[in-house]
Symmetry: D2
Subunit: 299 residues, 4 copies
C-alpha cells in the first residue's frame, strides 16, 4: 500500500500548456537574435525568457535558449517548426523546441545507496521536479517498497559478470522509446558504450568528488588520504570516458582534519543529492546545451 | 504496511556503550580544566574530545564539553556523578552528564509542510541522527501514512481557537516524561508560555528567514518585498518572545530579482530542512549550551 | 612620490571602442525583443550579450540589457539614439545607451576605515574595475598619502555639526558635472536628502549588516548581542530612508559563539569590501536597473 | 617617501605579553589532558583556549593546542619548559611552546602578480596578521616602491637558468636565522629541495586550483578546458613533490560557461588571496600541526 503521495501541481501560476522552450546553437553571425525574435513575433508568440551566450564575439559559437508562450501551442507547433527551418538553414542552426507541458520521462538507476533517489522522489512529489519518474531500475531489490509506495514501477535487474549483457538488454527493452532521460543515482555498475551511445547526452551521473579530482573508485577515501579541506560532488553527462563527460553542476562542503572517511561519506551524501537534483532539474527544463566536452547551462 | 526502513547502525566503529558527554558552565577561574581532567583520569576515563570557550579571560563565563570513554559506564556513572559534586561545588558549576547510548527521544510537531519532517526522518533512517523519533504530532492528518510507514506513531490533534487549551493538554499527556526534545518542523500553531516553560531549552523551531530579519508571518513575502539578494533560515530554541529565542544555526541561499515568492519558498525549503536537521543533530549530541539569549555550539 | 601604479589595460581582448550597452524598462507587451533586435540588426549592430526579465508574463514590467558592437560607434551613436525613439515611443520605454569606452567617473567618500577604499583602489589598478576614480573625499586627512600614491586627488572636507551645510556645498562643487557615481566606502556622515536627490540612484553605500537586520549604528554590536551565526554586508543605493534603499548585493560569513565584537568587525571588513566592490563593478558596467525599491541585476 | 602605514595594535584587549601557545603531538593514551592541564595549573598558568584531536580513539595519534596565560611569562618560560620535559617523556610527546608576543618573521617571495602580496600587506597593516613582514624577495623589481612604501625592505634577486643556484644562495643568506616563515605569494620559480629541507613545514605556497585537480602550470586554462563549474585555490606547505604538500586551506568560487580564461584568472585572484592569507594567519598563530602529509588545523 502506498502512503499515497501524488506530485502536487507546479505552483507557478503560468499556463504551461502554451509554453515552449527553444534551444539553438550555431556559428555566431550578426542578425540571429533579430531573425529568431522577429520570427516568433510574426507567429504570435510572446517571449517570456531569453538567454544567450557567444563563445567568442569574432567567429565563435552562439547558444540561445528562449521560452515563449503561444496560444494553441500543441496544434500550431508542427507548422511553426516547419516554418522555422528557413531561419535554421540560413544560420546553420542545430535546434529543438520542447513543449513545457510534455514532461520528460525519467528512469532512475540505483544500487544500494538511497539518498540520491530519495531526494529526486521528494522533489518530484513536492512539485519541484517537473518530470515523470516513469520507473526505477536497480541491481538490488532493497528499495522496492519505498519506490512502490510512491506509485512508481520498480524493476529489479540483477547484474553479475556473467549476466551483464543480458541485464543491459532488459534495461534497453524497458526504456526504449519510453524514457527521455536516465539518471544514475549512485548506480554502481558500469554502463556499456553501446548503451551510452543510445542515450547520447541523456544519461546523467553523480560522481562523489569534485571532478577532475578523485576520478574512479572510493573518492572519499582518496579525499581523506590527500587531506583536502573541502569535499565535493559532480553531476555530468555520461560518456565513454570514466568520469570524463561534460560537467553539469558541482558543489562542495567544508570538512576538517577531524572528519574520518565515514564522516566524509555522510557529509558528502548531502552534497551529492543536491548537485544531482539540480542537474536533473536543469535537464528536464531544457536549460542545458552540450558543446564539445562542456555544458552551457542557462540557469 | 511499512516500507520497512529501520535506522541503520551508526557507522562509527566507536563503542557507544562506554561513551559519555559532559557539559559544564561556570564562572571562569584558574584550574578548571586541570580539576576536571584530573578527576576523569582518576576515575579511569579516557577523554576523547574536549572543547571549551571562555567568554572573557578576566572574570567571564567558562563553558566546556568533554566526551570521554569509561568501562562499565552505566554501572559506574551514578558514583562518578556523586563524586563530581565536590569539583562542581568548588567552581560553582552547572553541569550534566549524558550517556551516548541513551538516545534522546524526540516528538516532531508538523502541520501541512512535509519537507522538514522528511529530512529528519531520512537522516534518522540513514543513521545520521542518533536519536529516537518517538512520535509525530500534527494538527492535520495528512502525513499519517508517511509517518507510519517509518514505524513511528502519528497523533492527529486538531487545533482550533476553541480547542487550543484542550489540544495542548493532549500534547502534554502524550509527551510528559516520554520526550526529551520537541522539534517544531514547520508547526504553524503558537505554543503557549506554559508549554514552553515545561520544555525550557528543549523546543527547537525552524523559522523561514535569516533572523532577526523578517520576524513573524510570511517571511518569504517580506523578503521578496524588500528585494534581498539572499534568503535564509534560522533554527532556534523557543522562548516566549516570538522568533526571539537563542539562535542555534542559520544558513542562506543566493536568490535573484527573477525569483518570485513561490520560487523563494521552493528554494527556502531546502535551507530550512538543512538548518533544522543540523540544529537537532547538535542538540541530541549534547553540543549546545544556552547562556542568556545565546547558544554556545561546540560543533 | 607615488609607487606609480597605473590601471592596467582591461584584459579582455574585445575592442571596447565599438561596444555599447543598452538598458530598457517598459510595460511588458509582445514584440519588444523582436523590435529591438531587428532595429539593432538594421543599424548594423551585432548583439554580444542580451538579458531580460519580465516581472509577470501578464501585464507586468519588462527589463532588458543588451550589449552590442557597432563599427564607428562614437560617430553613429547620436543618430542611432535619434532613430530608436520611434521604438521607445511605441513601447513606452525608459531607456539609456552607454558607450563601454566612456568609463564612469567615481568619487569615493571615506572616513577612517580604509578597507573598502583599498579594495576599490586595488581592483581599479588591477584593471578589474573599469571606471575612473576621479577623486576621494574624506572628512579626515588620514588617507591622503595612500590615495595620492595612486595618483588620485584627495579632498579633505571636515564635517562638524556647524559646518555640515558648508561641507556639503563643497562636495557638490567638487563633483557637479564631473562625477557619475558616488561611493560611500564606510563614510560615517549622513548625506542630506538634497544631495541624495541630485544623485538619484547614483550613490552606493555599504552597510555592515545583512539588511534589513541591524539597521542603523553599531550593527556588529547588534549582531553579537543577538547571537547570530552569520554576519553580513549589504550594498545599496542611498535613499532618504536610512539603510532602506534598493539592495544591490549582499553576502555573509559564518561566525561562532567564540567571536567577540572585534572579531566580527575584523571578519566583516572582508565581506564589506567584497560586497561593495561587486556592487560598484555592476553599476559601472551598466548591469543594474532600479524599479520601485528593488534592483534588477543582470550579472 | 612612504605613505607611512604602520601596523596597528592588535585590537583584542588581551595582554599578549603573558600569553603562550603550546602544540603537542603524541601517541594517544589515557591521562594526557589531565597531566598537561595539571602541570600548567601547578605552574600558575590559566588555560584560555584548548583544542584537541585524536586520530583514532584506540591507539592513534593525539594532537593538542593550548593557549595559556602566565604572569612574567618571558622570565619563567625556560624553567617551565625544563619542567615539562618529564611529562613530555612520559607520553613520548613532540611539543613546542611559543610566546604570543614573539611575532613570527616572514619573508614574502613574489614575482609579477601582486594580489596575494597586497592582501598580506593590507591585513598586516590592519593589525589582522600578527607577524613581522621582515622582507619581500622578488625575481623582478616591479613592486619595490609599493613594498618600500610600507617600510619593508625589498630585495630584487633575478633568477635565470644560469643564475638559479647563485640566486638561491643569496636568498639563504638574507633569510638564514632571521626568518621563521617563507610565503610564496605567486612566486613563479621552483624552489630547490635543499631550500625546502632547510625550511621544513615553514614554506607556504598558494596554488591557483582546487588541488589535487589541475596540478602544475596554467591551472585556470586547465579548469576552462575541463569545463568545471567551480574554481578554487589551495594553500599548502611546500614539499619536494610539486603541488603535493600538506594542504592547509582551500576555497572555491562559482563560475559559469560564460567565463573565459581571463575571467577565471580575475575571479581566482580573489580566492587565492583569501586562502593564502588565512593559511599564513593560522601558521603565525601556531594553529597548524603537520602529521604525515596532512595538516591538523585548530581554527
Amino acid at each position: 500500500m502506498s502512503h499515497s503521495y501524488q506530485p502536487q501541481e507546479n505552483k507557478r501560476s503560468d499556463d504551461k500548456s502554451i509554453r515552449a522552450r527553444m534551444l539553438i546553437s550555431c556559428p555566431d553571425k550578426a542578425g540571429i537574435v533579430a531573425a529568431v525574435s522577429q520570427f516568433l513575433y510574426e507567429q504570435g508568440a510572446n517571449i517570456v525568457q531569453s538567454d544567450q551566450y557567444t563563445m567568442d564575439p569574432e567567429g565563435g559559437m552562439f547558444f540561445m535558449r528562449i521560452e515563449f508562450d503561444l496560444q494553441e501551442l500543441e496544434v500550431r507547433l508542427p507548422s511553426l517548426q516547419e516554418d522555422f527551418n528557413r531561419i535554421a538553414d540560413r544560420f546553420s542552426m542545430r535546434w529543438s523546441i520542447f513543449r513545457a507541458a510534455r514532461r520528460k520521462r525519467i528512469a532512475i538507476f540505483v544500487s544500494k545507496e538511497d539518498h540520491c533517489l530519495l531526494e529526486l522522489l521528494w522533489q518530484w512529489q513536492a512539485g519541484d521536479l517537473d518530470a515523470e519518474i516513469s520507473m526505477v531500475i536497480s541491481n538490488h531489490d532493497d528499495m522496492r517498497s519505498l519506490v512502490e509506495s510512491f506509485g512508481i514501477p520498480y524493476h529489479h535487474i540483477p547484474v553479475t559478470a556473467d549476466t551483464k549483457a543480458e541485464a543491459e538488454q532488459k534495461q534497453k527493452e524497458l526504456t526504449a522509446g519510453k524514457i527521455d532521460l536516465i539518471v544514475l543515482a549512485r548506480y554502481m555498475q558500469i554502463v556499456s558504450p553501446k548503451f551510452i551511445e543510445q542515450y547520447h547526452n541523456r544519461i546523467i551521473n553523480i560522481h562523489h568528488s569534485f571532478l577532475p579530482a578523485f576520478v574512479g573508485g572510493k573518492p572519499y577515501q582518496q579525499a581523506y588520504n590527500r587531506g583536502v579541506k573541502l569535499i565535493g560532488a559532480t553531476a555530468h553527462y555520461v560518456t565513454e570516458e570514466l568520469d570524463g563527460g561534460p560537467i553539469i553542476e558541482q558543489d562542495v562542503q567544508r570538512v576538517s582534519h577531524s572528519d574520518n572517511v565515514n564522516e566524509l561519506k555522510r557529509m558528502g551524501r548531502h552534497i551529492e543529492r543536491i548537485v544531482l537534483a539540480r542537474a536533473v532539474k536543469w535537464h528536464v527544463e531544457d536549460r542545458l546545451l552540450v558543446y564539445q566536452n562542456k555544458t552551457v547551462a542557462f540557469v
